[in-house]
Subunit: 406 residues, 2 copies
């Protein structure tokens, strides 16, 4: 069977899938509304780190252009701003790595075209999807959280929230002293939110992601509304004051005189509603569209799972496309059967971390601060969210995990 796959969207899911298909001799066409230059010149789209399972996929695809030896990190530092602060590290078995997606995605678009993939640069509306169904054996929708949402309705059983649980303010900064060795920090200010610091490779080389995950109504939410472009100094001074008060281990690494955004475009503010959508839609004449990435599962970025599960889902989808005789409901079900444990694990674990901590989670944090094996497994499981969820799914499972490791 000669197969020709149409992919709407050139995010990590669309590109990993497209490259996978080309590697397997399957015709792949990407339709996206932004050229590589427009992506490169655009505003910060997100803050993403790839864990080693994702980097392994990049290596298999021959697109691991940013070696972890130079750009990777292998440690998560945890800081809990309790009356008696808790701080402890967790170690990965292999490095993770963050590259600015305005560098990453255009480079993979170039790879895709250089290997014979076709990219059409145009906006696609919902109404045009059936026409794509006539041109392609399968239409993959890996674009946007909005435009195609009516095609793939939210599954309420997996989507507990109707509003954002954190109001985000994420930027790429200079003037933060690197940790030695490089690490990511999760800093928690109870009642106010989290700060995730990530060392990232961007246009000026190494920069510092500060991802503020602010609890609505808390003391830091303001940072999601202050406009840098209106008053740069007010924005930076307010941010510095919040960091000093709530996230001291990061504040201590800041050279306040040099501290600034890498560029005024390097700031993203707002909120998203986490949720999982139906996987597939019939688009007329028996043709199917299948959702992948954010179009399928939107995850709060607090744990950085979105891009990693999008890449995983794309890979599974690619494998099933290679094997498939027909792109029918059963095909979609096979894809879901293989991806949903990881997608659901990431979603549920993330949603758990957005909720106020239970006594068992408190006990786990205390145990991890004393027990490196436990903290290391917690960290390594950023690669395997389904394993993390098996550990965290109930008070009993958390207690059993602590008992097993002590």
């Amino acid at each position: 069977m000669e197969k020709s796959i149409g992919i709407v969207g050139a995010g990590v899911a669309g590109l990993h899938l497209g490259l996978y298909l080309l590697e397997h001799g399957i015709k792949a066409t990407i339709i996206t509304d932004k050229t590589p230059e427009q992506v490169r010149d655009g505003r910060l789209p997100n803050s993403v780190s790839h864990h080693h399972v994702t980097l392994a996929r990049e290596s298999r695809l021959g697109v691991c252009h940013w070696p972890v030896e130079e750009w990777g990190y292998q440690i998560h530092r945890h800081y809990f701003g309790l009356p008696d602060p808790l701080a402890f590290p967790g170690r990965f078995s292999a490095p993770s790595r963050a590259v600015d997606y305005r560098i990453y995605l255009p480079r993979l678009m170039d790879d895709f075209e250089a290997r014979g993939g076709t990219i059409y640069y145009r906006q696609i509306d919902r109404d045009e999807i059936p026409a794509l169904g006539e041109h392609f054996d399968l239409v993959v929708v890996g674009a946007g959280r909005g435009a195609f949402s009516e095609m793939f309705p939210v599954r309420p059983e997996y989507s507990p929230f109707d509003r954002p649980q954190r109001i985000l303010c994420v930027g790429l900064y200079t003037g933060v002293r690197p940790d030695e060795p490089e690490s990511v920090t999760f800093s928690v200010s109870p009642g106010h939110g989290e700060l995730i610091h990530i060392p990232m490779y961007s246009f000026s080389g190494r920069v510092d992601v500060l991802l503020l995950e602010n609890i609505p109504g808390g003391d830091i939410e303001e940072m999601a509304h202050l406009r840098y472009d209106d008053d740069r100094r007010l924005f930076l001074d307010t941010l510095l004051a919040k960091l000093e008060r709530h996230h001291p281990t990061i504040y201590d690494r800041i050279d306040t005189a040099r501290f600034d955004l890498q560029d005024p475009k390097d700031l993203l503010q707002g909120g998203l509603v986490p949720g999982i959508r139906h996987s597939a839609a019939e688009i007329g004449d028996g043709a199917m569209a299948i959702a992948v990435g954010d179009a399928h599962a939107t995850v709060d970025p607090i744990l950085g799972q979105g891009a990693n599960i999008a890449s995983h889902s794309a890979w599974v989808l690619g494998e099933e496309i290679v094997k498939a005789d027909a792109f029918d409901r059963a095909f979609v079900e096979r894809v879901d059967h293989r991806r949903m444990d990881r997608v659901l694990g990431a979603q549920r674990w993330t949603n758990m971390m957005l909720a106020p901590p239970s006594p068992e989670r408190g006990a786990l944090i205390a145990a991890m601060s004393q027990n490196p094996a436990l903290a290391d497994e917690f960290t390594e499981n950023f690669n395997y969210p389904e394993r993390q969820w098996a550990r965290l799914s109930s008070p009993e499972s958390i207690q059993a995990w602590i008992a097993e490791k002590s």
Copy 2:
């Protein structure tokens, strides 16, 4: 974690699970309402053949007491009573084997007790399940299609029927000449139903299962209502006349003078409603009950999938019990994640075979009659119903399968 598992029911699922747990050092207790003697002396409970994936599990458990060299068969013969009859064989890669469950189950109950398992012989009502939840870490319900049905409601999305699609009449007979080599026959009388003939090991040695799957309102339905005990000769003569008219390849093998049930108890008549039920129920205080076997998925016996998927589900459940830290909702979801492709594949494929044939199914039958590779894959897939369903799930997938093999 010391684990103690309570299993309600001593069918193939309960026993395979119980034996698996004992092998892995986990305490297993079976509660069932019939002693081995009562099972042995009872009416025919079903007609079951184990395919090689199930036999492999038996070997791993050390309970493969009926060697396939003596009792196995490796061929399915197909007969379609069309104006121009079609007949063709399909071959398994390894033998299947049918043993009367009134011999099979008591022997495995003996094995279970000999290896340290405990069996309590008593009727359990729905009301007593919560008390079991206090005694065991997990309660497995593998009994009955009725008693616990309210605990595990039907899932309508997987249960398309509200009444039996076939009215069954299954018996163990003597006086049928064995095929050389031994084989199973699927004989189809369009509009009236199917006859499945299976060579089985029973109390008198080799007997012949005749499983009549009668379409309601068709010419053979009568056989599901005639009472052998009321008028043995009328029953047999009517059956012989139906076989002669509808299932000639089996009729031709019958020595009418010797033809009879092995024993008056060896007859089962009636119908069942296929369906899949919710997997788990909370039984108070956070304790869980999980359904397996018929309590979870009731499949029409036309393809003989019920026992094989029950054994598969029991095995998956056993593996997950060994790994589990806690028996919570996430545990059940992991079990389902691993078993549902096979369970759903068996259910959907079976339900498809109960429906009037589509043009594509007709084309597949015609193609199989000409193409042994296709017929062999169809036959081998009795071991892997999820693969069969991937082949049969849509007109396009059937066409692609035929094209691939021609």
